[in-house]
């Protein structure tokens, strides 16, 4: 049994009177992808900064690759690769120069450096732009270069702090592919923070949910979603009336019905079994249905249940325009788009359109 990649015991960090991380226990196995999910300000980045030796814990301790982050930071640094939030690059170097410098700082010999630069470039696909100055790169290219820089010394453990915040869907998918192949082909342990549900859902073997500096739940995405316990049927309708809600509540097997605007959410233990009765009930109530979707609960449903608030106003995957300059910018509410039908976040969902 190899040593765990990361262990924390009551690790905590205070800024003034505010505990950004208020005591977190983690054990992350070697080779695992661990998703750390929480809204802005939940303490994700502070925890990452402590584990990456940039910041000392106020109390508790953290072991990364078997070394104490407070007492042996030099040894930790040799084993980890880090891509912090907002790709931290130097615009006036070319991508290749940046990677080469990174290799030098990790003590790699010239021959090894050039091989490693080629290898990480194959992984992150920057193409001929690698010899251009970084100021000419798009946001997605910068993220990929940042990831490449984090990998140049072949680290055992990779920290990715919100690796796709601000990226368009295509770039996000590319980063996901890179993270997966890194984990599968090299066995790299990955600690990933995200405020996007589908990112944790898509990538992580296990997910920890952090709220106000505390770990409130932990498990595989499926386990966490099971905590919510029921399937969800979402019906978008042209107009929602009390009759509709009443009729739906009377359908056998339906646990709960929540209506909002032109959408009604039906919770049921066995969603597939009540799908037809729900459709019939809607028809009987004279409700004109725009779409009808059966989905399993999302991590947002879990977050909602655990903390009483949505993970993020932008909990849906609709963060294409999300700008890193405005992390708190309110985004389109999730109810506007029945994401589950688009094959994105939730592989287990089934979409039915009437």
């Amino acid at each position: 049994m190899p040593e765990p990649a990361i262990v924390t015991e009551d690790i905590a960090r205070r800024f003034g009177d505010f505990w950004a991380v208020a005591g977190v226990d983690l054990e992350i196995a070697a080779g695992e992808i661990y998703g750390f999910l929480g809204p802005n300000g939940a303490g994700k980045s502070t925890l990452v900064r402590m584990l990456c030796t940039l910041m000392r814990p106020t109390r508790g301790r953290g072991l990364v690759a078997g070394h104490d982050v407070a007492r042996e930071p030099e040894l930790v640094r040799l084993r980890i690769g880090v891509a912090l939030q907002d790709a931290a690059l130097d615009d006036r170097q070319t991508g290749r120069e940046l990677l080469d410098l990174q290799g030098r700082l990790y003590g790699l010999r010239r021959a090894d450096r050039s091989v490693r630069v080629d290898q990480v470039l194959r992984l992150v696909d920057i193409g001929s732009a690698i010899d251009r100055q970084i100021k000419t790169y798009s946001g997605g290219m910068k993220r990929r270069l940042d990831l490449a820089a984090a990998l140049i010394h072949d680290p055992d453990i990779l920290f990715l702090d919100e690796p796709t915040t601000g990226l368009d869907p295509e770039s996000r998918a590319a980063v996901w592919d890179e993270v997966r192949s890194l984990n599968e082909q090299h066995g790299t342990s990955i600690f990933l923070t995200t405020q996007y549900l589908e990112e944790a859902d898509e990538l992580a073997d296990r997910v920890g949910i952090i709220s106000r500096g505390r770990l409130v739940a932990e498990g595989t995405p499926a386990q966490l979603k099971r905590r919510v316990g029921t399937d969800v049927i979402v019906a978008r309708v042209e107009s929602l009336t009390d009759t509709t809600l009443k009729t739906l509540r009377s359908v056998p097997g339906v646990d709960e019905v929540v209506g909002a605007y032109n959408e009604v959410t039906v919770h049921a233990a066995n969603g597939a079994a009540v799908m037809s009765p729900v459709a019939l009930a809607l028809h009987d109530a004279g409700t004109s249905v725009v779409s009808l979707t059966l989905r399993t609960p999302t991590l947002d449903d879990v977050f909602l249940q655990l903390t009483g608030s949505h993970l993020q106003d932008g909990a849906s995957s609709d963060h294409t325009e999300h700008s890193s300059e405005h992390p708190d910018q309110p985004r389109q509410p999730e109810v506007e788009t029945p994401r589950a039908t688009e094959g994105g976040p939730d592989n287990s969902s089934e979409g039915v359109r009437t």
Binding site: T53, L54, R77, L89, D90, R92, L105, Y106, Q119
Partner: protein
């Protein structure tokens, strides 16, 4: 052929290790030097402004000084032009940019030792200020300035100026590391004025009046200029029948640079320690 292909597709397992102090300094310096020609907007004024003022000043004042005091103003002012060129040139604003955009953190996560993060930048600065001093000296030579101390004197002149430029960078670096604020670093430029002007910048010491004379006595710049001038005109401030080398004046210049450097570099190192301490 097949084996070559498979060798290149198999990931090379490398072992990260500390690169060593001097390799770290060289790595940081390489990057900093590489950046310099990519920001010509930062370098060209540092060269143009001192040459402009040098030519302007000697055009305006040569005749007066020659008639009134009987010395060559273009020789007297060349050290001032060089000091203008080398003082305040540093990578401090680039450092602040690194701090602000997170690149400094990226460097801090690597095994790089902390001191080379500053020494590497200073190495680049020394390279740059020497490179700035040379064309200014060439302008002086082209205008007819002659060094009594000869070619070796010219080399000592450039090296002393360069080291002065280097120790001055301690101040902007201290501010950059302490504040991480680009405005504060830009404001550090105002330190340039009292240090370079409250001295024998335009006239020899005997001509400085009252308070200015007193202040100039305590300004290291007075002794630096005196030492640099001694290489050109022989005796020091005013040309006269003096030997080509003036060890006393040169020694005072070195002491003045050392004293200033002790303070400025200590401030920079303290600020670096504060910045890299994982509070």
């Amino acid at each position: 052929m097949v084996s070559t292909t498979s060798a290149t597709t198999t990931a090379l397992r490398v072992q990260a290790r500390p690169a060593g102090f001097f390799v770290d300094v060289a790595s940081v310096a390489r990057r900093a030097i590489r950046q310099i020609p990519r920001e010509p907007e930062a370098v060209i004024p540092a060269l143009i402004v001192p040459i402009f003022f040098y030519v302007l000043n000697i055009g305006a004042l040569s005749k007066i000084t020659h008639q009134a005091a009987g010395f060559s103003f273009k020789s007297f002012e060349l050290p001032v032009a060089v000091v203008f060129a080398v003082t305040g040139v540093s990578r401090a604003s680039a450092l602040v940019t690194d701090i602000q955009n997170g690149y400094f953190d990226r460097l801090m996560i690597t095994p790089v030792r902390r001191l080379p993060l500053l020494l590497g930048l200073m190495t680049a600065d020394l390279t740059l200020v020497m490179a700035l001093a040379v064309p200014v000296v060439l302008v002086g030579l082209a205008l007819g300035v002659r060094f009594h101390a000869g070619l070796l004197g010219i080399i000592v002149f450039v090296v002393l100026s360069g080291i002065w430029g280097l120790v001055f960078t301690g101040l902007p670096y201290a501010i950059a590391l302490k504040t991480g604020n680009p405005g504060a670093v830009n404001a550090s430029f105002i330190l340039f004025f009292p240090i370079t002007f409250l001295s024998t910048t335009f006239v020899p010491k005997p001509y400085l009046q009252g308070w200015l004379g007193t202040v100039a006595n305590y300004n290291p710049m007075t002794y630096i200029l005196q030492g640099l001038r001694s290489l050109i005109v022989g005796g020091g401030g005013i040309p006269g029948p003096t030997p080509s080398w003036n060890p006393a004046f040169l020694g005072q210049a070195v002491l003045a640079i050392a004293a200033f450097g002790t303070i400025s570099l200590s401030l920079a190192l303290l600020a670096l320690r504060g910045r890299v301490r994982r509070s």
